[in-house]
């Protein structure tokens, strides 16, 4: 009998408090959330609902005040700064609303960056980075700097940078927030495709229902709690 697999990510009673005393702000009030491997999850909710805080915790950029965070069945909620950095390096990829590419640096070098921190050799770096650029359809633009690329292209480079290390999870924080609708659709199609073909788990924060529609699971946050979880039939 196949045992029921643990989810890739499990949050149990996660709380997050910012500040102390009277100025303290309870951003998360006990979030329980499972993310299955291979899921494409959209996280929605008004600002201040706790979705960004949750994403930061899921992205190992921040730690919960209390509660448990299991990644691949391992407790990671109390890891130190450097341990979390290594976890990000190994398992996570990030895409930001503002692209966040290094200026005056070619697309190829931008995509190579995570590999540099992983200590890959020069030729391995080049090959993996070119493969990632190829996946996002920008192999011909490898030598161009962000200033020479359109917004949509920049976000593709950012996605290539996020997937170049073959991470388990791709965290996207409003990836289409700075793009027009046509480019947005392209980016969403790319993410959907990566999710389907590479099996990469995608966690995406978005404001727009149109974009959330691409996801298989949509989580709504309100007042520091998970309000609803809609799962579409596969």
């Amino acid at each position: 009998m196949t045992p029921v697999a643990d989810p890739l990510i499990r949050l149990i009673g996660v709380t997050k408090r910012f500040g102390a005393g009277a100025a303290a702000f309870q951003a998360l009030k006990g979030v329980d959330l499972d993310v299955e491997a291979g899921d494409f999850m959209a996280v929605m909710g008004p600002s201040g609902s706790g979705k960004s805080t949750t994403m930061n915790i899921l992205g190992c950029l921040d730690v919960p005040t209390s509660g448990a965070f299991l990644f691949r069945g391992h407790h990671v909620e109390s890891l130190g700064r450097d341990q979390r950095a290594l976890l990000r390096r190994r398992y996570l990829g990030f895409v930001f609303q503002g692209f966040n590419l290094l200026a005056r640096t070619t697309a190829l070098e931008n995509v190579e960056l995570p590999l540099l921190y992983r200590g890959e050799d020069r030729w391995v770096r080049r090959e993996m980075a070119m493969a990632a650029l190829d996946k996002v359809g920008l192999a011909d633009w490898a030598k161009h700097t962000p200033a020479e690329l359109s917004g949509g292209q920049q976000q593709r480079v950012a996605i290539a940078r996020a997937i170049v290390t073959h991470p388990d999870v791709l965290l996207a924080d409003e990836p289409t927030g700075n793009l027009d609708s046509e480019r947005s659709i392209e980016i969403m199609e790319l993410l959907t495709d990566l999710n389907k073909t590479s099996g990469i788990t995608v966690l995406m924060v978005t404001h727009e229902a149109d974009m959330a529609a691409y996801a298989r699971t949509v989580v709504h946050f309100r007042d520091g709690l998970v309000e609803t979880i809609e799962r579409k039939a596969a």
Binding site: A5, D6, L8, A37, G38, N56, G59, L61, D62, F71, R72, G73, H74, R81, D82, Q83, A85, L86, L87, R88, R89, R90, Y91, L92, F94, F96, N100, L101, L102, A103, R104, T105, E109, L113, P114, L116, Y117, R118, G119, R161, D168, G199
Partner: protein, 420 residues
């Protein structure tokens, strides 16, 4: 599908060496991205290293030059001249010149004297064919060439007969030769010195310098008898040159000569000497000491500019950390550990300052070669000066890069990413 029950591989950090290689690459890329700013950043270091190394190099050259010039006067040579070194204003009579007997007495009675040469000196115009040249005429003996270690380029020294009979023969210095016989050897020709026509028997090799603004090569040398008879008209000797045996302490020899001369010149006890004895080695040491101190002072002033350069690096690196906050955020999010971010900025600072140091060294090299030529001191390349200056510039990078690097490494990735 990934095996979810697999333990995450133990978070592994890259080895230190690989880390250094990676960060060096990152640092170089960052420097290339901000080329103009990088150049401006290191300008302070460039100028600092340039100033220090140029000053030290020229100072060493000057010290060497002074030393060479004084020892050119001859090793262990004592020079005796009438008159006191203490300039006592007025009243005194002119001290009498020396006599040939003084010379004999020094040679015979002072221990540790290897050679004694008299010099009777005057100036005259030397004329050869159409050209004339005003120069110093020296009357002396062969012992003078010995004492001063003066070599011939051509011809020969005086013979004892020429010295004894006061023949009209002369040996010309390089400067005189160059001015009167630009393209040929003067040996065998005749030269009119003042009103005396003499045969040129020798040509001296270049001595160079002579120091203190005088050209030691600008001279015509005749046997002393000839000068005394045909030029000065007396038996007076204006300078006595004494070569001391290196086995003896030249200060002792100097004292013995002084005692002897006091006796011969009937100077009563309690009265000052009416002559002065210069010791070439003493002069060399004193002058080298002075140039050494001057070099140290000027270098210290220049070193301050290095310090200012270091503060400049810290300044720009701090600005750079602020300006690149978002970049640091990206690196941290991607999985850089604090140590790597810190190392990147530290390596950037060190690479920058070393680069500045290197540029400074190259500039200093060319400038000191040029300046050495201009102020006529030898160019002395001292590898240690250059190495120390280079290492020091690296040290400045570490010291002044540390604080900004630590600040960069301590940034919170979330805040850094949000930074506008």
């Amino acid at each position: 599908m990934t095996d979810l029950h697999a333990t995450p591989p133990p978070p592994r950090q890259a080895s230190s060496l690989r880390l250094l290689g990676t960060t060096a690459l990152l640092a170089l890329r960052a420097i290339r991205r901000h080329l103009l700013r990088s150049v401006l950043t290191v300008l302070g270091i460039v100028i600092g290293v340039f100033a220090v190394v140029t000053m030290v190099t020229l100072g060493k050259g000057a010290t060497r030059s002074v030393h060479d010039q004084v020892s050119n006067l001859g090793a262990n040579v004592l020079t005796v001249i009438p008159g006191t070194s203490q300039g006592r204003g007025g009243g005194g009579e002119t001290p009498p010149p020396f006599k040939p007997e003084d010379l004999d007495a020094i040679r015979d009675q002072v221990a540790g004297v290897t050679a004694v040469a008299p010099i009777a000196q005057t100036t005259a115009t030397a004329i050869s064919n159409a050209s004339n040249w005003s120069t110093t005429v020296k009357g002396t003996t062969d012992a003078y060439f010995d004492a001063q270690a003066w070599k011939l380029a051509n011809g020969r020294y005086f013979t004892p007969q020429e010295e004894a009979s006061g023949k009209s023969v002369c040996i010309v210095g390089k400067t005189v030769k160059d001015n009167l016989y630009p393209n040929r050897s003067p040996v065998g020709g005749s030269l009119l010195v003042g009103s005396v026509s003499c045969e040129v028997i020798g040509e001296l090799a270049l001595r160079g310098g002579g120091g203190f603004g005088q050209d030691i090569d600008d001279t015509v040398i005749l046997p002393i008898k000839t000068v005394q008879r045909r030029f000065t008209g007396s038996r007076d000797i204006s300078i006595i040159v004494v070569a001391a045996d290196p086995a003896y302490d030249s200060a002792d020899v100097q004292q013995s000569i002084a005692a002897l001369l006091r006796e011969r010149r009937s100077i009563r006890a309690g009265k000052l000497d009416d002559f002065t004895i210069f010791d070439s080695r003493q002069i060399a040491d004193t002058l080298s000491g002075i140039t050494g101190v001057l070099t140290a002072i000027v270098s210290a002033v220049a070193a301050i500019s290095l310090l200012v350069g270091g503060i400049g690096i810290m300044n720009i690196m701090l600005v750079s950390v602020t300006e690149r906050t978002r970049e640091i955020g990206i690196r941290l999010a991607i999985g850089a550990v604090a140590r790597e971010v810190m190392l990147q900025f530290l390596v950037e600072a060190v690479v920058l300052s070393c680069l500045g140091g290197l540029i400074g060294l190259v500039l200093a090299l060319f400038t000191s070669i040029g300046l050495a030529k201009l102020i006529k001191v030898p160019f002395v390349f001292d590898p240690w000066t250059n190495l120390v200056a280079f290492l020091f510039s690296g040290l400045i990078g570490i010291v002044f890069g540390y604080f900004p690097a630590r600040r960069a490494a301590s940034l919170n990735p979330i805040d850094a990413l949000r930074h506008e």
